[in-house]
Amino acid sequence: MAPIIDFEGHNREFQPRLKWLVAFMVAGFVVIACRFSYLQLVRGDYYVRYAARNSFKAREIAAPRGIIFDRHGNRIADVRPSFDVVIRPNLIRRHAPAVAGPSPGLDGAALDIGAIAKALSRLLHIPAQSVVERFKSATGRARYKPVVIKPDVSRDEMAAIEAHRIELPGVAIQVGQKRTYTHGDLFSHLVGYLGEVNSSELEHLRELYGATKGEDYYEIGDFVGKYGIEKQYEPYLKGEDGVYYVLEDATGRMVTPAEGEDGEAYARSMLAHLTRRGRPASPGNDLVLTIDLELQRRVRELMEGHVGSVVAMEPGTGRILAMFNNPTFDPEIFARGISREAWETLRTNPEHPLEDKALRGQYPPGSTFKMIPALAALAEGVVTTATTVYCPGYIKIGGRKFRCHKRGGHGYVDIRRALVESCDVYFYAIGAKLGVARIAKYARAFGLGAPTGLGLNEEKPGLVPSEVWKLRVVRQPWVIGDTVSATIGQGYNLVTPLQLARYTSALANGGRLMRPYVVERIQTVDGRVIKQSQPEEVGRIPVDPATLGVIQSAMLGVLEDPSGTARRSKLKGIRVAGKTGTAQVVRKDHADQGKKPKRAFRDHALFTAYAPAENPEIVVSVIVEHGGHGGAVAAPIAREVMRTFFDRGELPVPGDRQARAVQPARPGAESVVAVADASPPQD
């Protein structure tokens, strides 16, 4: 025997059996080798036809995004199928081949991305460069996964692609889901819009969901919420894409297995395996908003021609009933891919259509602020209801003269008349006594100077000035004149329309500061509630009901007294309480709101009100930029919003309106000349 199995050991006992074992092992290996050679050499051609030429590819099933409803179940944001043109990177060469020849594993039909881009640019009317960029942005993903080149193509474009299908291996049309906004630009700021995810967002989203949902949960080409509710509720609204598998040949065409018995069994076996791996798309969750579509529509009609914002809120709960800013914009332009010029036009428009003014517009509250110093003065014992101040049309404080908006003066005014007729002199006087600290304390109690907690669009906090604040930010000491201005809502005071509505709600509901909310509940596609919002009281105004009653009664007087600044905005059958405001625009101090010199120098018109006065169901706050007088411009808008609200009388709000509706409204004095509410310049 060969030396390798010549066992030279010291005991020869097992030698014969060892030789037998060698024989067995060699025999075993020969059998194995024979089997390999049969499968690989004899039958190899047969197997390779199926295993190497055809391959099974995952195709995504786009999950529909959650639908957004108003409180009555009307669709605000919907989805519809779209046809997207995609390319499959695995079927496309990165570079043009130096030498023409078949690529490995493919039929030799693969084109390079440059050629594909040129063809698609012609067929889809998009720059070739953007095709190449999208192709490159997909590096690092599985190469067979389609990359969207142009979403939601037209029928003509689709036909063009189909016609050139054979010449464009690797290009395909895929069914996707497209977000549509049923009411166009009616909810652009509130609901927001979608856009293609950018790389920094992608990184952030992957950090959040990569671990639980997989790295491919968000991918290049996905559309994500960029603004408003779409952004804030992105994790709820997004569905989970499904996946299914198809058998493809080398050029990406689907193949039906039908060749030969064995081959078919094999293909069926693969398909079955892949079917098990596939999963259906699971739709995103639906949102039901607190918004009333009809009310929102009415607001939009009323704001036609005005620049500004309207917020309607349930005072008892903080539910937002309507929230609209004018001008607005088409929320679908961003999903379509906005051109640079169109973007620049939107961005530089002096009326700021992109800005959510209700949450981010910071306006001097003007006289709508006056309930705060009034309440503070009563609560702190600075004045009583009997205290009167003589208004000759001006007052001298700290050696300076502060004018009332009524040049001729109001004569002797008490707190009620001061509010009803918006006498500035009265407030100058009590403001000087109260001091800025106590005014600020009450302003903060009403939620001013801090975001309301709605949680959308990075809302602005507004501003409640204080001595410390001025020293730190303006780098000047606080002077008595600042306090005097602050008392009538001018000076450094800034509020957002939402803050104004919330502050009015607290006045209306007996001093409870509510957290506003706009999403009533989140539910699955089959209606199972995932999250239900509850009214949340986040603070309480430190006054007794009687004191608050004085203010409420005065606010009723604003509409119902013959001399009230909003007496012409009464509503038949419903008692409305409110306050007008006219905020000065041209100022030389820091506030950058409305300071663009090219824009109108007219004052902002404000009005905030609630109704019915006895058991408030709605608060409406209106700000019209450069609208002029609050009583003349803003109050009628609020009145019409309330009229719509009460006329329909269908809101599912607990409460008995009938009982209140029978109370007669006080007859208004027709003869009294309208007194516009305005604050003259202090300097």
Partner: protein, 366 residues
């Protein structure tokens, strides 16, 4: 260490094992690359760690004279029984079986180490019970008493494939230590007669399905025959030279279940073709024959039986594993030595080869 030991060190065996380790890792790297999953799975990196540790363990095994295992054979056997019992009591159920001992980040599969312990205890028994003229069937009664507890515990886990493997290993060792031909013939007849009975009575539906699948994989391509059929196409598609490293279509689309463990050879077959398979088979065969040579050259009886048992254990695993993948034997869940993923399996094989090296280098000692 004695300089003579180093002089007699079997470098060829060491080299073959290291080459197979490298081939195994290169192949496993490809096996875990799946379309649609970026990056390299942790499976690969833990295997790298397992192999590195195992090579060190293998070399460490050569330090102590192997005869220490003769003295420790029974205590080690007791330890083996204990280890096999643990997963039955505490083990987590992984795909319907309790085969693993949970050790925090790792889990240990005692039935792998048990193969070595069985070989040691059988070597000890046959070493100390010499039978001139060969063993008769009745002489196997006592060593069978050593086998039965192990097989029972493994059968209960339940892991019929491994239990059957232990029986085969026992028979192989018995054959090697001169079981009489007459006894072998009787044994063969008994097995042949009882197979149909075992098939109908002792096997579960699940186990019977594997036999049916073996005989007719295309009969139920979506279910029972799926794995075998997929493996067949992957192997066949390799042809003479293979599709190229990391280019196996079947492999990378995840069509073959367990393609990093039991079916790991399909990856090699698809990507390296018949040539690749032949190279690996040659390396394995060389290792086995060199192992038997160690047995033949061993200084004394215990070492000879131990080395033979080890070689038989490695050979039977290769045979059973490749037989299953190639559709010649039912699928039993036996891993391919040095190629399949699995720390316990990798470590056990290295410990076995370490003992071979140990026996080989001490063939002129004492």
């Amino acid at each position: 260490m004695d300089r003579r030991l180093l002089a007699h060190f079997n470098w060829t065996i060491l080299l073959i094992v290291l080459i197979l380790d490298a081939v195994g890792l290169i192949n496993l790297y490809s096996a875990v690359q799946q379309e649609g999953q970026g990056g390299t799975s942790t499976v690969f990196f833990s295997q790298v760690a397992f192999v590195a540790l195992s090579v060190i363990a293998m070399l460490a095994m050569t330090v102590l004279d192997y005869r220490v295992y003769e003295r420790l054979a029974y205590p080690l056997y007791g330890l083996g029984i204990l280890l096999l019992t643990v997963p039955l009591i505490t083990g987590r159920v992984i795909s319907g079986a309790r085969r693993w001992i949970d050790l925090g980040p790792f889990s240990m599969q005692p039935s792998e180490f048990g193969k070595l312990l069985l070989v040691i205890v059988l070597a000890k028994y046959f070493h100390s019970h010499v039978m001139v003229g060969g063993y008769r069937l009745r002489d196997l009664a006592k060593p069978t008493m050593l086998l039965v507890p192990m097989v029972t515990l493994i059968y209960l886990s339940p892991d019929l494939g491994t239990a059957a493997f232990y029986v085969m290993l026992f028979v192989a060792v018995a054959f090697a230590v001169n079981l009489r031909w007459r006894s072998i013939l009787i044994l063969a007849i008994v097995v042949a007669v009882s197979l149909p009975v075992v098939y109908t009575v002792a096997l579960t539906d699940y186990q019977r399905n594997r036999v049916v699948a073996l005989l007719d994989p295309a009969g139920d391509p979506l279910g029972k025959g799926y794995q075998i059929l997929q493996a067949r196409y992957a192997i066949g598609a390799g042809q003479l030279l293979g599709s190229g490293y990391l280019k196996g279509m079947q492999t990378h689309q995840g069509f073959i279940p367990e393609n990093h463990t039991d079916f790991v050879i399909t990856v090699l077959a698809e990507e390296w073709g018949f040539v690749g398979c032949l190279v690996v088979l040659t390396l394995f065969l060389a290792l086995l024959v060199l192992g038997l040579r160690v047995a033949g050259q061993a200084k004394e009886r215990f070492g000879a039986i131990l080395a033979t048992g080890i070689v038989c254990a490695i050979f039977l695993q290769i045979l059973v594993n490749m037989g299953a993948v190639l559709g010649l034997l039912p699928v039993t869940g036996i891993t391919l030595p040095l190629m399949s993923y699995g720390g316990s399996s990798i470590l056990t094989i290295h410990l076995m080869v370490g003992l071979l090296l140990n026996i080989s280098m001490r063939r002129y000692m004492f």
